[in-house]
């Protein structure tokens, strides 16, 4: 897809290797996250790592887990794909307002 999906996949795979979860180590865009491969704590770690990486790579501060994320019709944490899309949306907003 693009650089954002690469970064999301990298963070997901890294977390997978830390948690010894094969599905996450071999993750692709369709890999399900919350409810299947990650519980709430898992999502918290994934999201904070992703935020940190985004800040390192692009010097942009975004908050992926907030009320807005929780109230989306489709949870951003459902799969790698939904997380990538939601991250992209927030990044676009952050860039325009920056």
């Amino acid at each position: 897809m693009n650089k954002v999906s690469d970064l999301v996949l990298e963070v997901v795979r890294e977390l997978g290797s830390d948690q010894e979860n094969k599905a996450l180590v071999n993750a692709d865009l369709e890999t399900p996250l919350f409810g299947r491969n990650l519980d709430s704590m898992g999502i918290v770690f994934l999201v904070t790592d992703l935020e940190a990486r985004i800040s390192e790579e692009w010097d942009l501060a975004i908050t992926l887990a907030d009320e807005r994320a929780m109230s989306q019709n489709t949870s951003p944490f459902r799969s790698v794909k939904t997380l990538t899309q939601y991250t992209q949306t927030l990044l676009d907003e952050a860039k325009t307002s920056a």
């Binding site: 918290v44 904070t48 790592d49």
Partner: protein, 449 residues
Amino acid sequence: MTDWLTHLQSFADKPAIVDERGTFDYHELVNQIQSFRRHLSKTIDAGQVVAILSDYNFYAVALFFALYEKQAVIVPIVSTRQAEIDKRLAVVDADWVLELNGETLNMTPFASAESHSSQPMINALRTQKEPGLVLFSSGSTGEPKGMVHNLARLVDSVQGKKPKQLNMLVFLMFDHIGGLNTLLNSLAMGARIVLVQARDAEAVAKLIEAHRIHVLPASPTFLNLMLMAKVHERFDMRSLKMITYGTESMPESLLQKLKKAFPKTRLLQTFGTSETGIAQTTSRSSASLEMKLDDPRVQTRVVDGELWLKSDTQIMGYLNAPMDDFTEDGWFRTGDLVEVSEDGYLRIRGRIKEMINVGGEKVLPAEVESVLFELDLIADCMVYGAENAITGEMVCAQIVLAPQADPKSVRRLLRQHCRARLSRFKIPARIEFVDQTHFGDRFKKKRLS
């Protein structure tokens, strides 16, 4: 002359106080107290509220005890920020402001000098003809609280100590309960007190070496700054017989690091609050965070894991706050969570206010900090809670890296290390690398929230 002054007089030409001007013996101290007292006699009455604006030096100590002899209510103010000074003067409704410039004393009437404070606690002290002391809380949350102590009781509590040949470093002074306690105890024993001017690790280490200091009272945050500056490798600190630590939780692994850096020094935990005074304690050992409060003047209870204290030296009350933390029968709820061992030792787990609630599971910062301090890559750290939409709160850590560490690899190493040592909900989710953790001017960590 009070018993206290007679007691100080008995140490005659033993060295009492060392500051940047030099060494003053007990005889000189008593003379200076008497001289200030005569000077104050013309203007200041017993029961008046008198603020002292000064640094930590010999003359300030003498002035403090001159006011004690005068039965004044003393308000020590060390801050140099005018707004803060004004706020405190207003809270105490001061009668006089005394400023020291060397040995020169400037006295300025503050309120209408004729009218005495109508504050009931101050009235009570005046009626009982006893000196008072107003201390302010550090104000980590909200307005600093003005606490009224009966100073006669605090001074009486240290009398009857056996004289000792000790060189004490006094880090904080009479504007802080721990500092006052060290000062009073040291004087009661006829010790030699070295006052710290520049409060950084390097300067303190130099003083320890130069004055062959035996006892260093400090906070865990400051002791870690000493380790980070590696002062124990660069200065001769073999004179140190004892390091006492208190005012905030000591992470277990930091204690072990200190034990390694100062193998011949006893490490003793002190415990006290501005509200109750400092209790006498004994640590189970230098390597242990377990301690006993063995002080005949202090009673303890543990209620729902929280330590409650009742002491002879507790405050009369607050000038600007309700007595919410005291029960009706006079117990002070310290806000500290403790574990009690079978043989009655206490171990402080942390502050109730600092508890982090991760999806219903409770985490205390000190436990996580202790695990982080086990890593040599980490020079300093501070753990705190932040809001999180998924779990309510999450554990966050600010990390000061050791010089050789690379932040990119550390994040993962740190998580791996924590996974092996902590339940999952306790592992820091947000990790931030900083140059310095945040602490106040009394070297106590200020946790973000």
